[in-house]
């Protein structure tokens, strides 16, 4: 049996691993087979992580975190967790090939997943003009016309990034002011290639084999209009990835995993949660990392108490 299993490989998971490994707990970390590194793998320049005054690329930052975690003895497995069972003293984690791993404590740091618009043609045209990753797909929209849906920091970052390639980027936002931080808003406002469609939502996506346009609906008067575009980038937020623990851990009204006060303690003793999966508000690389630290220290304390019994 392991002392500690960490599920998740974003800033929370790897920071928890660094702390747990330095404490000699020999953590086993499930990084998932394809989502290793978490959300930062889809970003470019990270300008607000302390210690990197010139910025650092998201994937590079994650590689460094992993390297640091492994340096102190974290075992990283590129496998997907299919099932968890927290009912006993030995917490059981089953990977997609059916192997069961046991640990005295688990840190759950699975982050969040992109939110979809929920339109019928969204999935069909995904990869044919509908995208959730500007850094992956912007390249294919040179001299094209693009729309970005969303009003937060990631929407502004994507819109600004996409102007490197596109002739025109229209930001579609359902309100008349943005949620994004002031610096990101200003950057978008100052960019001559970015236009805004205020009080608008996407009512339909058009295109047989590729996206050709959208129907926008005015959120105030309900009127509809057509917007011809070649690409649609969706940045309307994320939902905490809790599908494995819905009936096993208490959740909050926001859908995040409920934790006790400022700690990482979930409703099940020996199970700790960290990062975006517990955070409906801040969701930054550095807050996730800090949250991973809290979880590792809580888990370490729990293991010490177990040992004393």
């Amino acid at each position: 049996m392991h002392q500690i299993i960490i599920i998740g490989s974003g800033p929370a998971g790897f920071t928890a691993a660094i702390y747990a490994a330095r404490a000699g707990l020999e953590p086993l970390l499930f990084a998932s087979s394809v989502a290793i590194g978490g959300e930062l793998m889809n970003t470019t320049e990270v300008e607000n992580f302390p210690g990197f005054p010139d910025g650092i690329q998201g994937p590079e930052l994650m590689e460094k975190m992993q390297e640091q975690a492994e340096k102190f003895g974290t075992e990283v497995r590129y496998e997907d967790v299919a099932e968890v069972d927290f009912s006993g003293d030995a917490k059981r984690v089953t990977t997609s090939d059916g192997t069961v791993h046991e640990a005295q404590a688990v840190i759950y740091a699975t982050g969040s997943a992109y939110r979809k618009l929920g339109l019928p043609d969204e999935d069909r045209l995904s990869g044919h003009g509908v995208s959730w990753c500007a850094t992956c797909d912007g390249f294919f929209f040179r001299e094209k016309t693009i729309a970005v849906v969303g009003g937060g920091d990631s929407a502004m970052e994507e819109a600004t990034f996409l102007t490197r390639f596109a002739d025109k980027v229209t930001v579609i936002h359902r309100r008349e002011e943005l949620k994004a931080s002031r610096i990101m808003q200003q950057r978008a406002f100052d960019n001559p290639k970015i236009e805004f469609a205020w009080n608008s939502e996407v009512a339909a996506i058009h295109g047989e084999t590729e996206v050709t346009g959208l129907t926008l609906r005015d959120t105030v008067d309900g009127s509809e209009r057509e917007l011809p575009i070649d690409g649609l980038f969706i940045a309307i937020g994320n939902d905490p990835r809790t599908h494995l623990v819905h009936d096993k851990l208490e959740l909050t009204a926001d859908g995040t995993i409920a934790v006790d006060g400022r700690s990482s303690k979930t409703s099940v003793s020996g199970v700790f949660a960290a990062g975006d999966v517990v955070d409906p508000t801040y969701r930054q690389a550095v807050t996730a990392a800090a949250s991973g630290t809290v979880a590792a220290l809580d888990a370490e304390h729990y293991l010490t108490m177990l040992g004393d019994q």
Binding site: S126, G127, H128
Partner: protein
């Protein structure tokens, strides 16, 4: 042994379209995080197929004409060619069992 090969605009017709073995072409780029993540999964699938499926890496930065020809607008994009015809398309990084599901009937 992995069967992963690298294809370019120069050898695409020969190595992919004229191949006797089905070929999965992985359209990728260095700046694409999910592409890096899915690469080892594809290597693994290729290795397990023992000659039944060739994995071919196609760098979209270096081969923009092929990316345009196959109307790639999102990567990672994986297209399977059999007898010169495109028979499957997989878009986005996904876990191995899901990729294998998309390849059912081929592998």
């Amino acid at each position: 042994m992995s069967d992963t090969i690298t294809v370019t605009e120069q050898n695409f017709d020969e190595l992919v379209l004229q191949s006797e073995t089905p070929v999965l072409v992985d359209f990728w780029a260095a700046w694409c995080g999910p592409c890096r993540a899915v690469a080892p999964v594809l290597d693994q699938i290729g290795g397990e197929q023992d000659g039944k499926l060739v994995i071919a890496k196609l760098n979209v930065d270096e081969n923009p004409n092929l990316a345009a020809r196959y109307r790639i607008t999102s990567i990672p994009a994986m297209k399977v060619f059999k007898g010169g015809e495109e028979v499957r398309e997989i878009i986005g990084a996904m876990p191995k069992p899901m990729i294998e599901e998309h390849l059912s009937g081929i592998i």
